[in-house]
Amino acid sequence: MSHPDDLAYSREHEWVRMEGSHATIGITSFAADELGDIVFVELPEVGAVLTQFGTFGVVESVKAVSDLFAPVSGEVIEVNEALRDAPELMNSDPFGSGWIAKVEVSDSSELDALMDAAGYADQTA
């Protein structure tokens, strides 16, 4: 299973892509495969303030319901509206069009608590 090198990863199987102070958040292909077919995602609201490792949404698959845990703290500036009608994007393109939310990161030092691709690959090996 390949994990893009330019992302940071959390133990709860979320990824973060940093662009300036903006972080795009999603779940990993490993998590999506483990969940199975995703049928619903409860997105955070724009303006909601996330706390690192706190819950910020719910993802529901045909076999499980799981909380989403924020890999970084910050305010939600955009959510992936496409997931409301097509939650399966989280299965088919978890690192791309299946992204969940964009966050204005409040403390970039929190990224130190996350793993790189190799570290995450070790955790899920």
Binding site: F40, E42, E45, V58, E60, V65
Partner: protein, 447 residues
């Protein structure tokens, strides 16, 4: 032997396995002071003697000759087919099954109930049912809190006082504040919720406005204005409705209700102390994931045949206990089936006739009392099938009439002192002109 309890040897083995000397030791943690030491029960009776005793107790029931009692529960004609359908063993023995898809007939009946409720309310989705109207109302208010992420609710004083008490109980656990919006109870007043007062109550981060149509006093509320007031505050409107009234009143979906709750008793369920009744809840599809309780959906199986399933179960307590939409609800499948059988038997035209006859007879009650100079309408504005009448010495006369086998409605003054000298009188299609004449005659005699 069809039933074999544990033997002494079985009990000894179990006690040994858990390392306890006697059954008594299992209760050692319960203080002696709160344990029953003796049971004061009469000696056993033979079946024949039990029957005789029960018949004696039942004989003490006083069944009124004539009743105008409503106040949330209404006596309607129940076609015999209703009892026949719910008495069928396939249904009568089937609680919502825990391997539900095996019981396609049960699921189909629930699906039909949901479909009929949607048609009646003008809403997009209805649950498989709740305990009763009060709990459905409280669940709807909690749902509005989840949808809006707010923790205050406003409720019109025109909502059945029992429902408001249940709502208060449901809100006390999660710490939701309940604000009461007054009804104009002035003599000759509207007897309805003032939209401006509702708007004021909604100003500060309130999740919903709960309002009843018709309200507890029978009055027709300005639901459109109340809906507009709620929506202006980004709050939800929870409409608490009387189901037969929907045959002639505007559907909640049409005036913008976000949630609908109702007591389903008038739909083929007899009026009885303690129920069982059935709660109705309906909503917009966009809110479906916050609905409490069971939902039946229709689908096709692998061979393309129509089938029914319990759907969206991730909301429910057996899948996600800590985050379930509700951990304090269940459905009333058998009573929902009674409502389904009733509505199917009477059909849309029959239900309209029930509603029209009820409103007509209620007007006959009011005019007969007015013509005899016995009472006057307490409120202005229009009403459905229940009317609040100003009657001097209402409580005393109500008691006197009860002695004579006539229940002169409900005494609103019991809970609302401003309405001390009023009677709340309900009529249905079962209210005869002779009943009304008897009420007039008996009230005349107590003048």
């Amino acid at each position: 032997m069809t039933y074999s309890p544990h033997t002494d040897a079985d009990r000894a083995r179990m006690l040994d396995a858990i390392g306890v000397a006697s059954v008594e030791d299992l209760f050692a943690d319960i203080p002696a002071a709160v344990r029953a030491s003796a049971w004061d029960v009469p000696p056993p009776l033979a079946e024949q003697e039990v029957r005789a005793e029960l018949a004696r107790l039942a004989g003490r029931n006083r069944i009124p000759h004539v009743s105008f009692l409503g106040a949330g529960v209404y006596r309607h004609l129940i076609p015999s087919v209703v009892g026949e359908v719910i008495g069928r063993p396939e249904f009568a023995t089937a609680y919502t099954p825990y391997q539900p898809e095996v019981s396609q007939g049960t699921l189909q009946s629930i699906y039909e109930f949901q479909s009929i409720i949607c048609e009646l309310t003008g809403m997009e989705v209805a649950t498989a049912s709740h305990y009763d109207g009060a709990t459905a109302t409280a669940e709807a208010a909690l749902m509005a809190c989840r949808l809006t992420r707010r923790s205050r609710v406003a409720v019109s004083a025109g909502v059945n006082p029992d429902y408001r008490r249940v709502l208060q109980t449901y809100c006390s656990g999660p710490g939701i504040e309940v604000i009461t919006v007054p009804v104009d109870l002035a003599d000759g007043g509207s007897g309805t919720t003032d939209p401006a007062a509702a708007a004021a109550a909604l100003a500060d981060d309130v999740a919903c406005l709960v309002a009843a149509q018709p309200n507890f006093y029978g009055q027709i509320e300005p639901m459109q204005e109340l809906a507009d007031a709620a929506h202006a505050a980004a709050a939800q409107l929870v409409a608490v409705v009387e189901p037969t009234s929907l045959a002639i009143l505007q559907a909640p979906g049409d005036y913008g209700a976000d949630l609908v709750a109702a007591e389903g008793q008038p739909l083929g369920i007899p009026a009885s102390f303690g129920g069982p009744y059935v709660g109705i809840m309906a909503a917009r599809m966009a809110s479906v994931r916050q609905m409490p309780g069971r939902l039946v959906g229709a689908t096709r199986d692998g061979d393309g045949r129509k089938g029914y399933v319990l759907t969206l179960q991730a909301r429910e307590q057996h899948i996600r206990r800590e985050k379930a939409a509700s951990n304090i609800c269940t459905n009333q499948a058998l009573m929902a089936l009674a409502a389904t059988a009733y509505l199917t038997a009477v059909g849309p035209a029959g239900l309209r006739e029930v509603a029209e006859l009820s409103t007509i007879q209620a007007r006959h009650v009011a005019s007969a009392l007015e013509d005899a100079g016995l009472a006057e309408r307490r409120f202005s504005g229009t009403y459905f099938a229940e009317v609040t009448m100003r009657v001097p010495n209402a409580a005393r006369r109500h008691a006197a009439l009860a002695e004579r086998g006539v229940v002169a409605g409900y005494l609103p003054g019991r809970g609302t002192p401003e309405l001390r000298d009023t009677l709340l009188l309900a009529a249905t299609e079962l209210t005869t002109d002779a009943d009304i004449a008897r009420l007039v005659e008996e009230l005349e005699a107590t003048r």
